[in-house]
Symmetry: C2
Subunit: 375 residues, 2 copies
């Protein structure tokens, strides 16, 4: 199993700081993973990503299997080489994307068959196949295949999806153990807790996953459209159910306030497209809340996006300049806003980790949240 050490737990709560040791380096937690869907964090050349120094990066198996494909990634030297990123990589199993393809996929107990959104070709994901694929990518952490159900779903639907996901998790872990035994791969495997917002389901699910030898545990099936209060309650319910001695990963979340809540509940890992996707639409995250760069109020503003930010963008560009570049449709604005948004998220996580290590996380959280309510 990948070594995982917890260095400090917030005395008055559950927030924790630790480190996960992977084949491509140490992931200091809590950590936010920028999303590199198709083999790049959108808009960030490899040297820019290296400058941002994320602890780990996420890539999407679904997109990479369809293009450029597993064989091609192998021929090009693996996913790290394709991305030009030498640090830790976690990939999802592809299941989440496939379950979003409502009309184009067919589910059975052994896996899910779907048609590519690119060329209509038929592909199949199986619990063992997705692990084998991620191992061929050469990733540091692979996720098991799970069935995702929409929110809200009937209890019976949730129960059946949990049952199937549990069976698939076991099959995936067996495949990982086989690959590791042959020396073909040295990565870790994370299981995924499901169960919607039903505590009994999540508890039962977790009890069956714990002790099987997974390297970590993810909270799946959240941030699928529920209101913030429901999400925050679900995080508080779901996170403590996961084993304490292994990394906990909240998939696909979220806003800074969601990360702060989840860290307080003892979550260690996060990923979300929010900072990168928002940059492409001109939405900017700052210590004073969010702003929309194309708004006319920024046109003559010579101040930086965030006076508290030390990122390259805030060091050289004014809001007025960034608004001009965005309105003019310049690719440079995507690069600059992505750089800033990712810097904001990564800096937030670094500062959170420092606060946990210093035993002052609760105070840190309230200061950050108060600052973001200002604007």
């Amino acid at each position: 199993m990948l070594p995982f050490r917890i260095h400090r737990v917030e005395p008055s709560g559950k927030a924790r700081a630790g480190e996960l040791v992977t084949p491509h380096g140490i992931v200091r937690t809590p950590a936010f993973m920028p999303v590199g869907t198709a083999g790049t964090v959108k808009g960030m050349a490899a040297w820019e990503l290296a400058g941002l120094a994320p602890e780990m990066v996420l890539a999407n198996t679904y997109h990479l299997v369809l293009r450029p494909g597993v064989e091609r990634i192998e021929r090009l030297g693996g996913l790290h080489r394709l991305m030009g990123w030498p640090g830790p990589i976690l990939t999802d199993s592809g299941g989440y994307q496939v379950f979003s393809l409502a009309g184009r996929r067919r589910l059975d107990d052994e896996g899910v068959t779907f048609r590519s959104h690119l060329d209509g070709d038929e592909h199949r994901l199986t619990p063992a196949g997705v692990i084998s694929t991620q191992a061929r990518f050469g990733v540091d952490v692979a996720m098991v295949l799970d069935e995702c159900v929409p929110y809200p779903s009937e209890p019976g639907v949730v129960a059946r999806s949990v049952e199937r996901s549990m069976a698939w998790a076991g099959t995936g872990l067996n495949e990982a153990e086989r690959l590791r035994a042959t020396g073909e791969w040295q990565g870790g495997v994370f299981a995924i807790q499901q169960g919607g917002v039903d505590e009994a389901q999540r508890r039962g699910c977790t009890e069956r996953l714990a002790g099987l030898g997974f390297d970590g545990f993810a909270i799946g099936g959240l941030a699928v459209g529920e209101p913030t209060e429901v999400l925050h309650e679900a995080i508080a319910m779901a996170a403590p159910l996961l084993p304490e001695d292994r990394p906990r990963y909240l998939m696909g979340v979220g806003y800074p306030e969601d990360l702060l809540q989840a860290m307080a509940c003892g979550v260690d890992l996060f990923d979300c497209v929010l900072p990168t996707r928002s940059a492409r639409t001109g939405k900017v995250f700052t210590s004073r809340g969010e702003l929309v760069i194309k708004n006319a109020c920024h046109a003559d503003d010579d101040s930086p996006l965030d006076p508290e930010c030390e990122c390259p963008t805030c060091s050289v560009y004014s809001r007025g300049a960034l608004r001009h570049l965005f309105v003019a449709g310049e690719v440079t604005s995507v690069v600059a806003l992505t750089m800033h948004n990712l810097s904001y998220f990564l800096s937030l996580m670094r500062r959170a980790r420092e606060a946990i290590m210093a035993g002052r996380y609760a105070r840190f959280r309230s200061v950050v949240e108060a600052g973001r309510r200002v604007s």
Copy 2:
């Protein structure tokens, strides 16, 4: 006048290495200026451009006047601050773009009136106005307004355009001297030699411009669609007519072979959209000639774009990875290919300068040209 020193002239030819001192730094010549049309070199964030360390950057007055506008650039702290680029900037006068707006502009002896391609608003360029605008941008080198005629044009048309351009150059210089006398601006002004491919016209034109106090002289009206041999002959004819003791700038040129020819004829400065625009269409410049990244032959190729290149792109990305990113429509591919193409052009110029300083330019040129004919 901006100080200009020539350090070395190739013993067996006319190629020369020198330096032009501007308010924002020294421009070591020969130098290629990346084009930052609308306030950014497309795809290059300010810190990437800084890493490329071009001697000088070009921006387009036409585009900047229309958006974000002169007043806004002033309010945002000038063009250097807008671009996040602290080094030398040269701007064109806007004339070239306006003369391309065939149906939307009206020419008279005092200037040219046109409608914006963005919102249809009417604008006017005058010989004094374009200098004043560039001074308000705070640029290091401003270009005079000139009338550009298409190739080929009737001799009478060429003669009339030369006549008008000469009058405008004088008016522009007077305006620059007025601004410099008041201390409002410390930049230099370059005049533009016109005359198509007619040597007598270019000679007469140059004789009238020389000795008036211009900081440098540009060769205008070339690279407007003529075949390579015609272009190369025209460069060999036009460049030596310009005063020897001032920088010579060949506008809008060109391919590496064009730069090598022009340097051999004693040209000091260049600009062209070729490396940046080509990057966006997936065309790559290398020491072995050009390649088209989307071609299937690169799909499984783990080698860099150019084995002789030390740019960030060639250090981390394989051809196969870049093809994947380009085919997937990732902005990262634009960034990476732009970085490489600009690195290739800038490295070519640095190596040319070293060769001139070492008295081996002719040999350097033939080795580069032979290498580029390989593929």
